[in-house]
């Protein structure tokens, strides 16, 4: 929607007829119809009006700025064709207006001429595209074979903590959605000042009233479970999220004069903001949310509420079944071919998928033993150890510093993944890249197991630009009654760094096992392209 997240609005109550008009225009856009000139002008006027109201609060209205802004939305609107990219106009013109303010002021006539020229060019290019056939309104813009998609993506908020403008924008958005803002904790290492660092001792629900009115109670519970680390692991978090959304859909009732397909998506936005305050969303959760939003907007308007709700719940169930449960069955089948008798398999931490593979292989009477590598401070390997020992598999347990000692015995390394990035890098629990590095040095094959729903279009080359910082107090340990880091906050110039993820370069990984088959690391963008075309 043009009036949600994308614009700086002060309060939720502005004139509803304006809303309706804007909604109609947006609807028309969605259905692929060419916006008539009057509609475009009306939209521009509304935007200008809003900007003016805001500027009046701030001080002297800057006419030049508004002119620039008015010229920008026109070309940017034809370029962004889908609801998912509606957020783009705001930061696009925020950044452009910032740039414009620095440029010398242009005359009004010049600006108008520029604008017209731009509109004409966009319109002709859009005509050419439209000849190409019908495109479903709410699908993501597809890369037509002879045209590449312009990347007008928004930089996620959780990697912009060092930018005060972005923080203010987030605070305003959360205030509008009535979601509490969580404050950072402790001294942050300078290399990571662009990331959040929260403490587990101050949960995000401190300021929420009980019973929560704006946020559904099961979402509050889910958020707490995420922030305290009770639910951890990519698959577990996604499944919990989807189940909670089922509950939310069950309890939802369409208000009068609203369409379920649009209103439900609006209702979900504050929930998602709250969850990302509790813990930044994982790539798998992001993909799941995109899927749900797409399904919701695809509900035809004449569908009755109960029918629609039932359909959505069935969609969610089939997503979980296909992408997670059946996928892990398929992956196990492929992976078991790679496990032979007498193997010594090394695993790291607790990956639900890798544990599943090993249990299945053990059921199929393969003879192997497992070495579980664990690392401080999470010590997730103990959970994996417990599950494997319960099955009856012979296990050995070491800490990650003993890797060079134990690796000469190992014949294969199986690793799980949090996400697979489009440039072939594997994003996984911190320490995975270290294991792949040492395994490569000893010539031991490294196999990564990952479902396709975790594939993500981002690219990243190091573990700094986009990561998660966990509670730094976790690093404190007491040995022989003494804990040296107890008062680390009081010591200036001491910082504790508790990273959650790291990226493994593709030359360390020999094979990726997915539900589509066994592929090399570099084929990830091919899979993404195939998936997008399917959808």
């Amino acid at each position: 929607m043009a009036d949600s997240d994308g614009r700086q609005v002060d309060g939720v109550n502005h004139a509803t007829d304006k809303d309706v008009k804007l909604q109609e225009i947006a609807l028309a856009k969605n259905e692929g119809k060419e916006l008539t000139k009057e509609e475009k002008q009306r939209l521009r006027k509304e935007k200008k009006q809003h900007k003016k109201n805001k500027k009046d609060d701030k001080g002297p209205p800057e006419k030049e700025k508004e002119k620039e802004k008015a010229s920008v939305p026109a070309p940017s609107k034809p370029a962004t064709q889908s609801p998912a990219h509606k957020a783009a106009p705001a930061p696009v013109h925020a950044s452009e207006s910032a740039a414009a303010a620095e440029k010398p002021a242009k005359s009004k006539a010049e600006l108008r001429a520029e604008r017209r020229a731009r509109q004409d060019s966009e319109r002709t290019s859009k005509q050419g595209k439209k000849e190409g056939g019908q495109q479903s309104a709410s699908s993501k813009p597809k890369a037509t074979p002879n045209e590449l998609q312009p990347v007008v993506k928004r930089l996620p908020e959780h990697v912009q903590v060092d930018d005060p403008a972005a923080l203010k924008k987030l605070a305003k958005k959360l205030e509008r959605q009535q979601v509490p803002l969580r404050s950072d904790y402790g001294y942050k290492v300078s290399l990571f000042s662009h990331l959040h660092q929260y403490s587990r001792k101050s949960p995000p629900t401190l300021q929420i009233s009980i019973p929560a009115t704006v946020i559904h109670p099961s979402i509050v519970r889910l958020g707490l479970q995420y922030s305290q680390g009770i639910i951890a692991g990519s698959n577990a978090r996604s499944v919990a999220l989807l189940h909670t959304f089922k509950q939310v859909i069950q309890d939802y009732s369409t208000p009068p004069n609203e369409e379920l397909s649009r209103d439900l998506v609006n209702k979900l936005s504050p929930y998602i903001s709250f969850l990302s305050q509790c813990r930044p969303l994982s790539a798998s959760m992001g993909n799941a949310i995109k899927y749900i939003k797409k399904e919701i907007s695809n509900i035809p308007s004449q569908c009755k509420e109960e029918e629609a709700k039932g359909k959505l719940q069935a969609c969610i169930d089939s997503y979980i079944n296909e992408k997670i449960i059946l996928a892990s069955e398929a992956i196990s089948k492929y992976a078991i071919e790679k496990i032979s008798d007498g193997d010594v398999i090394l695993v790291y931490g607790c990956s639900s998928l890798v544990n599943h593979i090993l249990c299945k292989a053990f059921e199929k009477q393969r003879k192997f033993r497992v070495i579980v590598v664990d690392s401080r401070p999470r010590l997730e390997g103990r959970e994996a150890l417990r599950r494997l020992v319960k099955k009856g598999i012979r296990c050995t347990y070491v800490l990650i510093s003993a890797l060079s000692y134990i690796l000469p015995e190992v014949s294969k390394v199986f690793l799980g993944a949090h996400a697979l990035l489009a440039n072939g890098y594997v994003m996984s629990r911190v320490g995975t890249s270290q294991i792949a590095l040492v395994a490569k040095a000893y010539n031991v094959p490294v196999l990564v197991c990952c479902e396709t729903y975790k594939f993500c279009e981002r690219v990243q080359t190091d573990s700094f630009v986009s990561n998660e910082l966990d509670d730094p107090d976790d690093l404190i340990v007491t040995r022989n009654g003494k804990s040296h880091l107890e008062n680390w906050q009081t010591v200036k110039s001491l910082g504790l760094l508790n990273l959650v993820y790291d990226v493994t370069p593709p030359d360390f990984v020999d094979l990726v096992i997915t539900d589509l088959g066994m592929i090399p690391c570099t084929s990830v963008p091919v899979v993404l392209r195939v998936k997008n075309v399917d959808q």
């Binding site: 003993a402 590095l437 040492v438």
Partner: protein, 352 residues
């Protein structure tokens, strides 16, 4: 009788030293650094030289070898004990040769021709008695002790040659030599240190708090994050437990991973090790590589009985991964270590 008293007193001291070594190994006694052990060993050897009964150099060397074997057996991983014994044996040989009047050069030349013609008969040469040999040997051991006391300072003096300003330096665990090295550089330069905590004993925490006292910007990271942060590190400076004859290291657990990560990012790996840590051992004896600590330090859960757990204490790092050794006599490449060793120890003493 004073003679007997001296002897009993001497054997008492030896016994107490042996029991100290044994206790340190099991972790029950106080943790002492290698420098202390080296000093105490040398002091004890000086006492043996002064108080034990011996007539000629050969007998003295026999006594020292015997005691040396007992000491190394008490604590095989503490190699400084063996190193000091070999140093003292070399001192005795040198002093003997000097007393005999023959030049040191010719005696120590190990040409193939000499080996074939002379046929290893230098043993008999040590039977001659010299009155001043005792005094000379004790003086030489005193010089050795002075050298030992100054090693850490000598190494720290070189710090400013290797650390420039605004660097990010990575280290692992706790090494007193590296601590002194970094503190010395911090007096004049500002830089940032990342310490890997080195589980399960987490000595890295102590190192970090100690460095912070000198106002050095320090960050503590868990071992799992070593590769993740390595791309921002300019140098890796580590200490070690032993330097092996081929230029490799026996260092604390996790050092091999650190060295591999540094090699991958082409980051120089600098080892600060005083000369008394240089040992003529070679790395192909797997028993000597590691020492397994009791595993209840890593696992406390009840399934311990169904699971094998390993907790090695040391790692072997091959010489290809090391860029530079900084010792009290200066900086050296790992390929030069064998030469230094031949200057410090006599080849016949490699096996005690």
């Amino acid at each position: 009788m004073p003679g007997a008293d001296k002897e009993t007193d001497l054997s008492e001291r030896i016994e107490s030293f042996l029991s100290e070594l044994k206790r340190c190994g099991s972790g029950a006694g106080s943790l002492r650094g290698s420098a202390e052990t080296a000093r105490e060993t040398t002091a004890l050897l000086r006492r043996i030289t002064a108080q034990a009964r011996w007539g000629n150099a050969g007998e003295l060397m026999e006594i020292i070898r015997k005691e040396g074997r007992r000491m190394t057996a008490a604590q095989p991983s503490e190699t400084t004990v063996g190193n000091m014994i070999r140093r003292v044996l070399k001192i005795i040989r040198e002093e003997y040769a000097r007393s005999r009047g023959s030049s040191e050069e010719t005696d120590q030349q190990e040409s193939l021709h000499k080996l074939l013609t002379s046929g290893g008969s230098s043993e008999d040469n040590f039977r001659q008695h010299f009155t001043h040999l005792k005094a000379n040997v004790i003086e030489a051991i005193n010089e050795l002790l002075t050298e030992l006391e100054g090693t850490t300072d000598n190494i720290s003096m070189q710090a400013l040659e290797h650390i420039h300003s605004n660097e990010v330096i990575m280290t692992i665990g706790r090494s007193r030599t590296v601590e002194a090295f970094l503190k010395d550089a911090a007096r004049k330069r500002k830089f940032h240190v990342i310490v890997a905590e080195c589980a399960p004993f987490c000595q890295g925490h102590e190192m970090a708090t100690s460095l912070c006292k000198e106002d050095i910007e320090t960050t503590v990271i868990p071992d799992a994050a070593i590769f993740a942060v390595m791309s921002r590190v300019n140098k890796v400076i580590i200490g070690t437990q032993t330097v092996l004859a081929n230029g490799g290291l026996r260092a604390v657990n996790g050092t091999h991973t650190l060295a591999l990560a540094a090699k991958h990012h082409s980051t120089p790996l600098i080892v600060c090790a005083p000369m008394f840590k240089l040992s003529p051992q070679v790395p192909d004896t797997p028993y000597n590589h590691t020492k397994l600590k009791s595993v209840d330090t890593i696992l406390y859960i009840h399934i311990l009985s169904k699971v094998n757990a390993h907790c090695p204490v040391f790692d072997y790092v091959p010489p290809e991964l090391i860029t530079l050794f900084i010792s009290n006599i200066g900086g050296n490449a790992p390929s030069y270590i064998y030469r230094l060793m031949s200057e410090l120890y006599h080849p016949e003493d490699h096996e005690l």
